[in-house]
Each structure stands twice: as C-alpha cells, then as structure tokens.
C-alpha cells in the first residue's frame, strides 16, 4: 500500500534555522484546574511537528484537546510543561505570522462584514483604500458580496463562519490554524471553500493545522493526519497521505485511492474508537 504510511512520529526537533519546522510541540502537557479543585490533564506528552508548507489535519473525539493544542500554538495559552516552537522560536506571545479561525464565533459584532474582513490589513498598517479593496475581494470569494454592509447578527451561522474565514485568509498567514472551519457549511459551499483553501495554501506555501471531525475531509486535504486519543490527548497515530496534488475536492471523493486511504485509516482506528467509546460509556453511566 504505497499511498499510506502509518508511522509514529518521533522526530526530535531540529535546531532553529532556515529549515526549522513551522510548528513543533515537544512533550507538551496542559493541565486545567477543575471546579472541584483537582488538576485535569487535557494534553499529555504531546508531540507534533508540522514542516514548512505542510498541511496537517487533526482528528479526534470531541473534548479530547484539539482546540487546546491550537491555542498553545497561537500563544494565547501556555503549556503546563514541555515546549511549543513556531518557526524554531519558542512561543512567547501572539505571533503576527499566525492566522487562526476560531471554533466559536469571534467576529466583532459592532463592525459590518466589510469592516470585519478589513480589520486584519488595517491592523497591519495597510492603507485604507487598499485594505478595503482586498476585503471586498475576499468577501466575494466567500460569496457574501451582497452582505457587505450586514452586521454579524444579521447573518446565518454559516455566513458568519465564512466571514471568519475571509478575515483570516486576507492576512495570508504563514501559519494557518483552523478549528473546524467548515462544519457549519453545506456540502457545496464546503467544497468551494476547501478548494479556495487549497489554492491559498499552494499559492503561499503556508503551513496549515486543520482540526476537523470529518475523516474524509481530513484525508482529502492533508499531507498528514494526526489521530488523537480520547481522555488526555496524545498522538495515537500519524498517517501520511500522499494522494497526488493538486487535488480537486468535488472529484477526489470518487477517486479509488482516496476511498482506500479512508478505509485503511478507519480500520486502523476502529479499535481505538471502541476503546474510547467504551471508556466514555463507563464513566458516563
């Protein structure tokens, strides 16, 4: 099976430099204090390496720690132990090269769609006129041209998500983190957005970490799929997906290779899924 190489990713982090991986998590743990006052481990001994220009997808059961991982990479949260590096540098604060599509709504409710999308360039000192031109362009790309003047509360859930995508894409980040960005979209819009994302990614050579629940989506998009365990998240397995690029989303699902890859990952996962399921059921009832 040449398309797929299950491999436990244990590369040690390379020294900082031109060839440093875009994102590195080394032995990272993250604990929270629960309301009962006990420490709860969300991430444990977590290792992840995303090379420059690489597209990594992360899948795992809900509540396992995917969003927490992305938060650590942005610098919004700090690890309880271990180290997080971006472009070879330990993460200190928020890096201007990082773009992040939040899982939950984070649009500015007092700004129209246009102003929301233009926010990034304006923050980064792009002249007004240029920023708005760019914003209009991106709004059109997410098919909201008619809604430029709407405020977020006047949009549907999927439309708000598209605004968030435009808001992030417009900055052309070198590192793009996305937390279930397409889950609120219908199939055709999602396909369009996926194509848009791949085009953006191949154009700018950005490194992407993409969290999703949809294994097919993960396989369709990624170079590497990280599968996380339930409970305190560790990396269960990393799969390398070497489907040829460029990939066209509306077609790839009918590709024989693709279907095989999905099936293999599913088979490899089934066992873990059942363990996880059993565990939640035990703790549940």
């Amino acid at each position: 099976m040449p398309l797929l190489t299950p491999s436990r990713d244990v590369q040690r982090p390379a020294a900082a430099g031109a060839a440093a991986p875009a994102i590195e998590l080394v032995n990272v743990s993250r604990r929270f204090v629960t309301p009962e006052g006990k420490a709860m481990t969300a991430l444990r001994d977590f290792d992840m390496v995303v090379g420059q220009g690489e597209f990594a997808c992360v899948v795992g059961p809900t509540g396992c720690g995917k969003s927490t991982t992305l938060n650590l990479v942005t610098g919004l949260a700090r690890p309880s132990a271990g180290e997080v590096r971006v472009m070879g540098q330990p993460v200190g604060g928020v890096d201007p090269g990082v773009g992040f599509v939040f899982q939950t709504d984070a649009l500015f409710p007092w700004r129209s769609v246009l102003d929301n999308v233009a926010a990034g360039p304006l923050y980064r000192g792009v002249p007004r006129k240029e920023a708005y031109e760019k914003a209009r362009d991106w709004i059109a790309r997410v098919h909201l041209a008619k809604f430029e003047q709407h405020y977020p509360h006047q949009l549907s859930g999927g439309m708000r998500k598209r605004v968030a995508l435009a808001q992030t894409f417009i900055n052309e980040p070198k590192i793009l983190l996305m937390d279930e960005p397409f889950s609120a979209l219908d199939v055709q819009t999602r396909t369009l957005m996926q194509d848009e994302l791949l085009a953006l990614w191949s154009g700018t050579g950005a490194s992407v970490v993409f969290v999703t629940h949809d294994l097919e989506e993960a396989v369709a998009l990624a170079d590497k799929v990280y599968v996380l365990t339930a409970g305190p998240a560790t990396v269960k397995t990393v799969f390398n997906v070497d489907l040829p690029r460029p990939r066209v989303m509306s077609e790839i699902r009918y590709d024989q290779h693709f279907v095989e890859v999905c099936k293999v990952i599913w088979d490899a996962l089934r066992e873990e899924v059942q363990i996880g399921q059993q565990r939640t059921m035990d703790s549940g009832h």
Binding site: V98, F102, F108, P109, A119, Y123, Y151, Q167, N171
Partner: protein, 287 residues
C-alpha cells in the same frame, strides 16, 4: 434596524409592510407621549390641589401656579442677578465643562486601569478612598484651591462625574469578550489598536450608561459649587430663593435645571443611537 413583521393572510408588498410598521410606530409614540403628559398633568394637578386645600404647605413645598408665575417673572423681568438665560448659560457652561473633563478622565482612567491589572490593583484602592470624600467638603477645598470663579464649580462637577464614569468604564473593559480580544490580537492588532477597536466598542454601552446618569451629577456638582459661593448661576438663584424663604423660587430653579438636563439627555441619546446601531433587537421587542 428592526425586523418588520405583520400577521396577515394576504401577501403584502414591501410598501404595505413599511407603511404598517410606520403606523404602528406612530401609534406607539402617541401612546407614550400621551401617558407622559397624563402623568405630568396628574402630578401637577394633585400638587396644586393639595396646596390649595392646605394638605401640604406651599410655604415649604411651593405650588405649581406659584412656580409658574415665578418662572414667568424671571423670564420677563430677569432675576436679581441678571437675565435668566445668563444664569442658565453660566451653569450650563460649568456643567458641560465639568462633564466633559470628568467623562474623558473617567473613561481614560477606566480603560487604563481596566487594561492593566497591576495598575488596577495598586490604584483602585485610592480611587475608592477619593470616592468616599463628601463633595460638599471638597467644594470648600476647591474654592480655596481654585478660587471663587468658574474653576471650582467645574472641579466639583468633575469629581461628581469622574467616579461613576470610571467605575463603568473600568468594568466595561474587564467585561470585553476574551475571544474577541484574542481574535484581534491574532489578526495583528497592537495593544493600542485592541483598546481602540475592541475594548472601547465593547465597553461603549457601559460608558454610555454612565454618561446618562452622570450628566445629572455634573449639573448637581456645578449647582452645589454655586451654592458655596458664586456671582451668577442657577445655584445662586436657588440659594438666594432659599435665603428669602421663597419656595416657589427654589422649585422654579430646579425645574429650569430639569429642562437643561433633559435637553442634554436627548443629545446623549441621539449620540448613543448612532453608536449602537449594530445591536440586535431583543426577540421579545420585535413587533
């Protein structure tokens, strides 16, 4: 920005809907104005009758007719300190100055301390101490420090306004949604830009709420300042009337103050409506 709805069988055109919505708005407006006027008339009539029947003593509590004729005299003959509009202008000037300085200072300090936890921890205790100082005592200290001119009244108005605005601006900043701040940060905003484009807009309803109440306070500050020593102003008018056992004069001056407060209030509301156009109408208020 409201939603337009109308329960009806026939499919109405956009114009129909708009006309109906406008009519409903106008009806409601008439109702509100009617009720307001009704209450006013009822209160005034009750007051006048009670004084006529001597249930309450007009010597202390004045009477609407007496107040009215006092205002008429002031308007036609002027007050003992000069024409009425001059008094209003003097007080208004002190108030507006004090209000602006206090509001700007309060917002600035609120944002500064709200954004910086260390500063907040260190200084909030001193602000609380300052807030417990009786304003009347401050009044005489200000007169000593700033003299009997406008400055001391303005200072008094400032301290009346500052604390209310500060408290709200501070809390408003602390309440800003952390997801939104994080988003701005990641989009590349500097701390100053975050303050300007995220913190201030989200604290805006807090600040505006405090401005509504604090204009009244500024007015009170200016008047109390005039009370303590002044050449002109409505406060002096009140204190003179009080000295002469002229209850009608006291109440008349207070009514003039109320009119001033309402005019400014409408201005603030107008500004507010322009600033919060983005807000959704609550479901239960959609008609």
């Amino acid at each position: 920005m409201t939603d337009m709805t109308m329960p009806s069988r026939a499919v109405p055109s956009s114009e129909d809907i708009e006309t109906a919505a406008r009519a409903a708005l106008a009806r409601r407006k008439r109702l509100v104005v009617g009720l307001r006027v009704g209450i006013l008339v009822a209160v005034l009539a009750g007051w006048e009758i009670s004084t006529r029947l001597e249930w309450i003593d007009p010597f202390f509590f004045a009477s609407p007719s007496g107040i009215f004729s006092q205002i008429a005299i002031w308007i036609t003959d002027g007050t003992s300190q000069g024409p009425l509009w001059e008094q209003v202008l003097v007080t208004l000037e002190e108030t507006v100055l004090g209000f602006l300085i206090g509001a700007v200072g309060g917002v600035a300090c609120g944002i500064l301390l709200g954004r910086n936890k260390l500063l907040a921890d260190v200084f909030s205790i001193y602000i609380k101490i300052a807030n417990s100082v009786p304003r009347v005592v401050l009044g005489s200290i200000f007169i000593i420090a700033f003299g009997l001119g406008m400055a001391s009244k303005v200072a008094l108005a400032v301290v009346m306004v500052f604390f209310v605005v500060f408290a709200n601006a501070f809390q408003g900043v602390r309440e800003a949604d952390r997801a939104m701040i994080a988003n701005a940060q990641i989009l590349g905003a500097s701390p100053v830009q975050i303050t300007r484009t995220v913190i201030i807009p989200s604290a805006m309803s807090w600040i505006l709420a405090s401005l509504h109440v604090s204009f009244g306070f500024a007015l009170v500050g200016a008047v109390v300042g005039e009370f303590l020593g002044a050449k002109k102003g409505i406060g002096l008018l009140i204190s003179t009337a009080q000295g002469a056992f002229n209850a009608n004069g006291v109440f008349a001056a207070m009514i003039i103050l109320a009119v001033v407060a309402l005019v400014v209030e409408f201005a603030i509301t107008w500004v507010e409506n322009h600033l919060v156009r983005w807000k959704p109408t609550p479901f239960h208020e959609q008609t």
